[in-house]
Point group: C2
Chain length 187, copies 2
């Protein structure tokens, strides 16, 4: 997905504003396995995914919790770094080799203060992500593990092809063994 489409997907910017935003964006490629963000580090990088898929995960003493997948067109940031300039709570790992557009929160903040369209673009981005996470929090609680898996199959079957089941399991809020059990029940 090209950068114009990614930008406009959040909020359609006037030509001039989009050009200003794009002036700060460059392209970069990383291999599978690369970590874009590391837990407990501050990073003001911002990426947009041209091709590929990534996951954000938090670490626990004996586990990893994948709480977000990013695909073509998605924006990748370390949320707490981006919002508060504080240490992030997540690692973000490439699950495939990725072509990325990149920019920096520093530059973006400057644009937020100079260009009202870009400020509203940033607002819309956060608002849309907010609705998604809130819906997931609610959904997680009112559905059984089986229902959550079925829902994923029907809304995003392609994800199962691209991402290993261990990551899917924690994304759905269950263990890999539980997910495997559920899958065998459905056969």
């Amino acid at each position: 997905m090209d950068i114009d489409a990614i930008i406009d997907n959040v909020y359609v910017l006037p030509e001039k504003s989009r050009e200003r935003l794009k002036a700060n964006i460059s392209e970069i490629t990383y291999p599978r396995g690369h970590l874009l963000f590391k837990v407990n580090k501050i990073s003001s990088r911002i990426y947009f995914i041209k091709t590929g898929i990534v996951r954000a995960y938090a670490e626990t003493p004996d586990n990893e919790i994948t709480f977000w997948f990013g695909k073509e067109g998605d924006t990748v940031i370390s949320m707490k770094s981006y919002v508060y300039d504080q240490k992030g709570y997540e690692n973000i790992e490439l699950l495939e080799p990725c072509e990325l557009y990149q920019t920096d929160a520093e530059d973006l903040r400057k644009l937020f203060n100079e260009d009202i369209h870009i400020a509203n673009w940033g607002r819309k981005f956060a608002e849309q992500e907010l609705v998604k996470v809130e819906e997931r929090l609610i959904f997680r609680q009112c559905r059984t593990a089986m229902e959550r898996y079925k829902e994923l199959i029907s809304t995003d079957p392609a994800l199962l092809q691209r991402v290993q089941l261990g990551h899917i399991a924690s994304y759905l809020g269950m263990t890999q063994v539980s997910l495997s059990r559920i899958r065998s029940e459905l056969k």
Copy 2:
């Protein structure tokens, strides 16, 4: 909490912008039990809590899931109405009689397009809420029911005094019976 403090708590606005924002805000009082928002309705209202406490909850066939509490200084909106002008997924109910400041998303959207400071204020609001929800989603998954309850006691003991345990239980992602069991184990 007065309206200036509430506004500045999100993002400190220049005097002029704050006055523009305030020009659209009025005060209103509702009794305990009043519903500010109803599930499956579009409402462009926006409230700020001067005094009192509210809860947002989703309905399931045989249950209610409280996923947010709002207190003095918090902003109360129906997220999907606010962001997409679509039917909301939540009810929001006053748990105490509340003094509220109110305005309308229509007015606010106009200000977002006219005043860059207010646009950035709206951006900051969404970003901060986003970090909170994302942290809750992760926390929910990496802690046991007992740990989640202990955490609440230590971070917000006052909440237990103001809100009935049934609501706390679903906020923590467990049944009321589970919460009661956990509480008795701690005695």
